[in-house]
């Protein structure tokens, strides 16, 4: 009763009718609409992109995503570099998880060249990929809470992320860009005492995630802002090419690690995390459980990883490495979805063409433009962050 009393009876007859394409006809001269640019100079935007919003009152009527602010022309640059010269630049394609670029590049190249990677190297690659997922999830969680005005979560999770970055530094020598997975293997074995420190960090993360759950996920205001907001219809999954946690939150258990197992994932025990309601809250919760699963996976990997062994396969002289002609596609499951490299070789020392398939490509443009219509302007930031889009992998 009281709920019904307090609920405003929304009169939508004042809103313009939608045309056959599902959009409204915007007539700026009617002085009803306002056009607003959300980004690129905007703290609420993920990375460097912009949304051109058309508002009627507080509601978004139309949206167009503008990308290209981060375009460096990687695919062109790689065409005029030798394979080994491509290796240091591929990780720069996407900042939050550079290792997926390295892995996809290396595995595509190994497949074309027919190189078998030693077992120890495969374990190390699995470890680095999972660590990369972990730190990316942590950074995202801060962003999601921050987009709804809860800055404290960001402080905690970035602190936890720094711990993982320390381990990265210890293992690979780099904080953000690691350049660890060479074509044919990896660059180094686990340092002494790495397991011990990693275990301590994982315990710390476990402890903090309990607090994060209490403060963020059990929070009444957070629930009020996110439950029922920004629902992805499961029927959109294939037409929009949605992958990763965004698809899993809609109840579709799509996980490249299970579907097309790579590296050592078949030997690890895990089940894809699946949500039900597909709103912002569910997506956040799926990512949180995915994060905890990643912590668990790292523990499993640490138990199985060999301390020594061959870490690099025999490769030709990298400066004169002619990769046999052919084409292939290699993929991996990153935090945002399916990450893939499509590589075409024409049998020379230079790649013919490399195409990067970033998951944000579909999430940030086609899907976001559709989802954002009829959202409140205050929810735009939260909605965009909940898709976990990252512009550099759209435009490369």
């Amino acid at each position: 009763m009281s709920k019904k009393l307090l609920k405003w009876n929304e009169d939508r007859t004042l809103f313009p009718e939608k045309n056959s394409e599902g959009k409204i006809d915007v007539d700026y001269d009617s002085h009803k609409f306002m056009k607003i640019w959300h980004g690129p100079q905007h703290p609420g935007i993920t990375g460097n992109m912009s949304l051109e919003l058309t508002l009627l009152g507080d509601e978004v009527m139309d949206c167009e995503t503008h990308v290209g602010y981060l375009h460096r022309g990687f695919e062109k640059l790689m065409e005029r570099r030798k394979y080994i010269q491509c290796f240091p630049i591929v990780c720069r394609v996407a900042v939050p998880e550079p290792d997926f670029n390295e892995y996809c590049f290396a595995s595509a190249m190994e497949e074309l060249a027919g190189i078998e990677v030693p077992e120890a190297a495969e374990w190390l690659r699995t470890l680095v990929l999972e660590m990369s997922r972990l730190q990316s999830f942590l950074a995202w969680m801060g962003g999601q809470a921050g987009s709804l005005g809860q800055g404290i979560i960001g402080q905690w999770t970035i602190y936890l992320r720094d711990l993982i970055l320390d381990r990265f530094e210890e293992l690979t020598g780099g904080r953000i860009y690691h350049m660890y997975m060479l074509p044919g293997g990896v660059r180094g074995l686990l340092p002494d005492g790495f397991r011990q420190r990693m275990t301590e960090n994982l315990d710390e993360i476990d402890r903090f995630m309990k607090d994060v759950k209490k403060v963020m996920f059990d929070n009444a205001v957070f629930k009020k802002r996110t439950v029922g907001m920004g629902v992805i219809d499961p029927a959109w999954i294939h037409p929009f090419g949605i992958t990763g946690p965004n698809a899993r939150a809609a109840g579709v258990a799509k996980d490249v690690r299970k579907d097309n197992p790579y590296l050592k994932y078949p030997e690890l025990d895990f089940e894809p995390v699946v949500g039900k309601d597909s709103d912002i809250y569910t997506r956040a919760d799926v990512r949180r459980r995915d994060l905890l699963m990643t912590v668990d996976l790292i523990r499993q990997i640490m138990a199985k990883i060999p301390d020594k062994g061959d870490i690099r396969a025999k490769t030709p002289n990298v400066l004169h490495w002619k990769v046999p002609a052919g084409e292939t596609y290699s993929r991996a499951e990153c935090t945002r979805g399916e990450y893939g490299y499509y590589m075409v070789s024409d049998g020379t020392e230079y790649p013919r063409r490399i195409n990067v398939r970033g998951p944000s490509y579909t999430h940030a443009v086609a899907l976001l433009e559709k989802m954002i219509v009829n959202a409140n302007i205050a929810d735009v930031a939260g909605l965009m962050v909940s898709l976990h889009t990252y512009p550099p992998e759209i435009e490369r």
Partner: protein, 213 residues
Amino acid sequence: MGKEYIEKRTVISPEGNPIEVDPLKDYFCDAAPKSCKSASGIIEKFANWARSESLWVLGFGTGCGAIEMRPLMTPRFDAYRFGIQWRPTPRQASVFVISGYLSVKTLKRVVRSYEQMQNPKFVVALGSCTINGGMYWDSYNTINRLDHYMPVDVYIAGCMPRPEALLAGFDKLKHIIREGRGEGANKYAENFDWYKGNQKKIIKDWDMPDYNW
């Protein structure tokens, strides 16, 4: 995409009267910036001290360096201790951190944001890519030298620079400001035509006024 929104046109006002609008002239002030005199002696020194101890950084992540800005402002490195704070609008910010490579499309927005900042303003450029192009020296879409387009106070080398390097860079910037050498805004005003010429050479669809406040 059409550029009709910057062309002269007639708009019907809510009262029904037609109004002639020339957006570039009417919506912006395009007078060239003027070099500002600094106050003299001890007052300027005091002002410079205050400026150096209160660096308000514009929240514009232009490139991948932006990912290291978050650790910088969070527990491990905590730049707030040194008077470095975020500011979401260019009007209120005094430091522009160019975090990494600039594509031409971003440069256009960066120039606009830079011009909206108030004198004195400082530019810190991160990463090798702002110095000489770095990894992307032969890319067709990223600039090679930032100091051709706007005055730069401090360059921080590295790909990408670690937060410690950023802190050291900010420390250097503080020294520069305290010594009264942080006059980038005046330099921009004095060499305005040169900077504008360089910008216009690479920004092909120039659809904004020459200077926008």
